[in-house]
Amino acid sequence: MNNAEVHEAAGAAISVERTLDVSALLGEWSNTNPSATGIVRLLLTRAGDGIAVRVFGAGHSEPLDWGETPAELFADLPELTQATSFTSFYDLGFMSVWLLVYVNKGVLVVISLTRFQDGSGRSNYWGREFFSSPGSRFQFNERKALAHA
């Protein structure tokens, strides 16, 4: 099946932009490693129909605020409407960072791909860190699923 045929199979007759339910992602997510030297905290807030991402990096005296950036949201399947993952991009001048983020068993998994743009000789590098949120509905859903297992 070529691209056009797959497109047809996807059902292009109805064109409706789908808005995802972001409620389970919202809130503050803290690195599960209290000694993390990368990202220590993410704040996910509602922004229109989507979310805004605010990253705090590990600093020597206090967390370092990266500011806010928008996110593109994704569900686990095309048929589902709960947002469980997102991508974001930061261009911070001296470096740019792709964030590829998804939820796995109630934990927010954050993959960061960093490019240094300041000629400092620092290598582009990849990192993966894990975050939890006390009020996460994903954790609630997981417990509910286990109770019915």
Partner: protein, 141 residues
């Protein structure tokens, strides 16, 4: 040297040199560990110098059988001190959807996260969606 994470600091900033990343560890063909996957079935990576070309193939049902080829937009090492590339980002424009891809090597497997965004109102009421799949290297013997 500016930083927004402690781990972004180099201990010896005077030793900084332009970093180049070899993508050769990705070279070859990779098959999905799930033979019944509805998603990407095979990934082929070709490294030429510091350029990595990536080709995806699907099963032809829910995903196209041929995605075409894309260059890695960003190659990354495991840390700020460099080394061989162990991760990359790229994207495929399939016309009806755009797919951003993040990939990394982990214990001999190629782990691929795909973020599928419908384009040009082609979602037909479907959501943009995420998938993560695992690939093993095809034996070359």
């Amino acid at each position: 040297m500016k930083y927004l994470r402690i781990q972004d600091q180099l201990e010896n900033s005077g030793a900084a040199a332009p970093a180049t990343l070899s993508p050769s560890n990705f070279s070859g063909s990779w098959l999905n560990t799930n033979k019944d996957t509805p998603g990407v079935t095979r990934v082929t990576c070709n490294a030429e110098g510091n350029v990595l070309r990536v080709r995806f193939e699907g099963n032809g049902s829910s995903e196209p059988s041929e995605w075409g080829e894309a260059n890695a937009e960003l190659l990354c090492a495991a840390g700020v001190h460099g080394g061989p590339a162990m991760s990359f980002v790229t994207s495929f424009d399939l016309g009806f959807k755009n797919v951003r891809v993040g990939a990394n090597l982990n214990q001999g497997l190629l782990v691929i996260a795909t973020f599928h965004s419908w384009q040009n109102h082609n979602g037909a009421g479907r959501s943009n969606y995420f998938s993560r799949e695992f690939f093993h290297r095809v034996n070359q013997s």
